[in-house]
Point group: C2
Chain length 314, copies 2
């Protein structure tokens, strides 16, 4: 199990390689929301997302022999760039399996860090099979995007910084996809700010965590949402942590996500990706719960395709 | 003439009412530009632009009797909101003359601060005539957007902070429209960082400052550019300061402005308006001049119509 010391040590381990991102506030946003919100800006993190933390922590935990053979993962998103970046920093190779449907800009990001890309059909089966082949051939170590304790421990450092930089938050809200950020946030709250209630924001169109909290078992994600960082189901390592430490999952529609994202862009002048806007959308949906409270929100990332997102605001 | 003490006193005067905005850097941007850039983020300023500084300084310089009768200006942009906000803070009325063509969102901004809006035809003559009538009726004090020494002195505090927060900049670049920000920046460099060369960025489609520097007299702006904060000609108070203290005006096309703006949005995850991207576009256009140098850039503001801007990126 991940304990307090593990998170503290992970934080020391990755500090040279990550940004201590700022916490931003906005009077205009607080007036609209009816509470005081402290936004942890992981959109300003290296690779534009919190994923840099977990990937770096996991990579640094490998033995020299393991590292030499390189890092491998399958990902169509920010984790892919985070692994390629970690490998580049360590001077080793990275092998990234990406579906053929992955946006060109994300492939370019991986290639920019020297990552070798292996394309596959856009199904989980094809991704896992291709990754298995790559690992068999190279001997590289797989670093899973979320179902990995070292990754979870690394992601926990974002909320740890948030708790250090703010005072006595009543709530902290993270978005939930596979649950790496959320489980890390929940553990950080448990150890560093136990009076803070942990809440998750999730898209209605991919509400497997919401259903898992009701049923007590992992549920299948439907993956029908604009929040493209939150398409996956919980894993067997993230689910128990979430079940035991997260108070509630609030679900929001894509319309609510887009409206919340637009408010953030317009009022705060910063770019967050749709997944990042989910927790703020949850606050706006359930205003009574948060009225007058101090609320921490993790902005998970800021990587968007401006050509596509621009159209949403027309 | 505005001296060093005037800028220092203005800074003290307005400090309780403005943000000391952050200076941001980006490794990715520096690699693309081939120099080290320090971005002064006035897009995070109150009202989303540096205009809050000059408006507040000018308003605070009025006598009690003057203030009581309110503040007045004509503006279709960020200065309108800045004046309405200054009046609200001082507990007095503001009267803002705005062309009928002004975007609804800007009118809402002014109204949100309690400003009274007077609509007029979208010509300079109509704006000035309507303003004269409003002032005759109300006795309010006009605060011009740029051709006003108290406004220029207030704008100078942005570059003053930039020089305080960075070390020995080789260049500082501001966009130029009416010249309030540029003349303030030039005076701040003269007094607080005399080894820093001051350069202006200007749209080709409104290049009156570029022509004025050649001809030695104020020239008419053509106002054909997406950088809607830079449509005006220099004033008789801003031009001499610029003529004597600005080394060069670099002009850039709208295509170059949009490309520079997109890079800033994508790489830095922050929203700047087209006018703000003009200095960075100038650096990209004239890379040789800035190669390896330390360059300060003032991001003038971040107020954009997302519905319109989104389409530019498609």
């Amino acid at each position: 199990m991940i304990d307090k010391t593990a998170i503290e040590e992970a934080h020391k381990r990755i500090k040279p390689y990550i940004h201590h991102t700022p916490v931003m506030t906005s009077k205009g946003i607080d007036e609209i929301a009816g509470c005081s919100i402290f936004f942890k800006c992981e959109n300003f993190q290296n690779v534009g997302a919190f994923k840099a933390r977990g990937a770096m922590n996991a990579a640094l935990q490998l033995s020299d022999d393991q590292r030499k053979k390189g890092l491998a993962t399958h990902s169509s998103g920010n984790h892919a760039q985070a692994i390629a970046r970690a490998a580049k920093i360590l001077g080793v190779k990275s092998y990234i399996v990406m579906p053929t449907t992955t946006a060109q800009i994300k492939k370019k990001g991986v290639a920019g860090y020297g990552g070798e890309i292996f394309e596959c059909e856009p199904t989980l089966a094809a991704r896992e099979q291709t990754l298995a082949e790559v690992i068999k051939k190279t001997g590289a170590s797989e670093i899973h995007p979320f179902n990995n304790y070292d990754v979870i421990t690394g992601q926990a450092t974002a909320a740890k910084e948030l708790f250090e930089d703010t005072l006595a938050l009543d709530f902290v809200i993270a978005p939930v996809g596979g649950g790496g950020l959320l489980s890390g946030t929940a553990l950080a709250a448990k150890y560093f700010s136990p009076s803070t209630q942990v809440i998750a924001g999730e898209p209605v169109g991919s509400d497997d965590a919401y259903r898992a909290m009701k049923s007590g078992k992992i549920e299948q994600a439907q993956s029908q949402t604009i929040a493209d960082g939150l398409l996956t189901s919980l894993g067997d390592k993230t689910f128990p942590i979430i079940r035991d430490n997260v108070k509630e999952v609030i679900t929001v529609t894509d319309e609510e996500i887009i409206a919340a994202m637009r408010l953030i862009w317009e009022r705060m002048k910063i770019i967050v990706e749709p997944s990042s806007a989910v927790p703020f959308a949850a606050v706006l949906k359930d205003k009574l719960k948060f009225a007058g409270k101090k609320v921490g929100i993790i902005f998970s990332g800021g990587n968007v395709d401006l050509g596509k997102i621009g159209k949403l605001f027309s």
